[in-house]
């Protein structure tokens, strides 16, 4: 879900840039030198997720999984998504450098929101956990497409219809992302639940090493 360079107006680009700088500052504050490695690794995982194509009818779509990243990382998802998008711009020319701010907000804001709204549900187990997992995929893609539509509509009121089409075209992706995110969370919680408690976990481990 990228907006290409050359489409948005100056105020929208500037607004996206300011929000991204603020979000990234908060995110960077939450990671110290010892936690850079896991965040960088998950940023790379997020990059790889966008290369995974899952079939949908005759075509295929690629995964986004920003909700999953957000629930794991919280505010640190901001710098992680920023870096992944910058790498996509450099390596594949998806998006671009000036529109990077808007693209980051579009994907990272829903991710952080998922962290606050859905984390309590995930720790419960049973059906609540499954619903929270599904919503983690569904809501994040829904909000991302909504933000994308909003940035188009704010640029030019003539884009309003196009913006509506963007949201509707993303509905099947929302459902698939929901299903995939739900299963992925079930898996992670079974195999290595401490990933979701990464901040405290990481600190304890390093503490042992210090002694």
């Amino acid at each position: 879900m990228h907006i290409s360079e050359g489409i948005l107006s100056a105020p929208v680009l500037l607004g996206g840039g300011v929000l991204t700088v603020a979000g990234t500052a908060v995110g960077l504050k939450s990671i110290d030198t010892e936690r850079i490695m896991p965040v960088a690794m998950l940023s790379a995982v997020f990059f790889v997720a966008s290369l995974i194509h899952v079939p949908l009818g005759p075509g295929s779509i690629h995964l986004l999984l920003n909700g999953l990243l957000g629930i794991i990382l919280g505010w640190a998802a901001f710098p992680a998504i920023l870096i992944a998008l910058l790498l996509q711009a450099i390596l594949f020319q998806y998006g671009g450098i000036v529109v990077l701010g808007v693209n980051t907000v579009v994907q990272a804001f829903p991710a952080v929101l998922c962290y606050y709204v859905l984390r309590p549900g995930l720790s419960k187990g049973g059906n609540a956990q499954k619903i929270a997992g599904f919503l983690g995929g569904f809501l994040s893609v829904f909000l991302s497409s909504l933000f994308m539509a909003l940035s188009l509509a704010l640029t030019d009121t003539g884009f309003l219809q196009t913006a509506k089409i963007v949201v509707w075209a993303n509905v099947p992706i929302m459902i698939i992302e929901g299903v995939v995110t739900m299963f992925a969370f079930t898996f992670i919680l079974k195999v290595q639940p401490e990933i979701l408690a990464w901040k405290s976990y990481w600190k304890d481990e390093n503490h042992e090493v210090d002694e």
């Binding site: 360079e5 960088a40 920023l82 219809q161 990933i195």
Partner: protein, 253 residues
């Protein structure tokens, strides 16, 4: 799987200081992205073609990248003339489309292609590792640069890990279709990749601590500006400033 097609070959632009290239790429992109006139867009396109020729990029790969960009602009071409409103004109004799919609779609296509070409010639001709160091020298926060360098380092590793898992699934008879089983399988493959990467980051972290990592990276290739580079980029930046002034002057008038 994660190719840096453009950083392998050699040209003046490939050898130029990445800091200069980043500054030039950002300035060109800012000016073109904010412009509203075809003349600025066309001037930018000429500059971009010049840069691509200068960087001696593989035209086939460049064309494929442009195709990817134009999928989105094609979407705009399909929707904007029908929905933009305003003044209408006849199209193919039987339907009316918005004249302004066509104009906006054309301008966006021009700007998007121009920016991608300039970006390809300037940014993609440097390996990400030297871009990371250059961004640090240009004032990007150190933690962000470390994130960029580490993340870039492990993209290929993680991608291979995912491919290994999906190859194993295919060998066991997994054929992707549009059903819940496929989505569950992909979710598990992805989650396994995430768990593996997580554990790998833990090991790398410990290895770095053992080697006294203090949060700084030192480059073995310090960049030095040469006189020729300064002149060439001076000319490019002058062109960019002229485009910016022209745009500003038109806005005033």
């Amino acid at each position: 799987m994660i190719p840096e097609y453009f950083s392998y070959t050699d040209s003046f632009l490939h050898r130029a200081d990445p800091r200069l290239k980043i500054v030039a790429a950002v300035s060109i992109t800012v000016v073109i992205a904010m412009s509203r006139s075809y003349i600025t867009g066309l001037c930018g396109l000429v500059l971009s073609f010049f840069l691509v020729g200068f960087a001696r990029l593989d035209i086939g790969v460049v064309a494929r990248r442009l195709l990817a960009v134009n999928i989105f602009t094609a979407f705009l071409w399909l929707t904007l003339p029908l929905t933009y409103g305003g003044e209408t004109m006849e199209f193919l004799g039987f339907m009316t489309i918005s004249r302004e919609g066509v104009a906006v779609a054309a301008l966006i296509t021009l700007k998007a292609n121009c920016i991608v070409l300039a970006f390809l010639a300037l940014m993609s001709t440097s390996p990400v590792s030297s871009l990371g160091h250059a961004l640090g020298q240009l004032g990007l926060p150190e933690k962000l640069c470390l994130l960029l360098l580490f993340s870039y380092r492990y993209i290929a590793v993680i991608s291979q890990e995912f491919q290994r898992l999906s190859r194993a699934a295919r060998i066991r008879g997994f054929t992707p279709k549009t059903n819940v089983h496929t989505y569950r399988t992909y979710a598990y493959l992805f989650a396994m990749t995430l768990v593996n990467s997580w554990n790998r980051s833990h090991r790398v972290q410990q290895a770095m601590m053992l080697r006294c990592f203090n949060g700084r990276f030192y480059t073995l290739h310090p960049e030095r500006l040469t006189a020729v580079e300064c002149v060439v980029f001076g000319v490019i930046m002058t062109g960019v400033f002229i485009m910016a002034f022209w745009e500003f002057w038109k806005l005033q008038g």
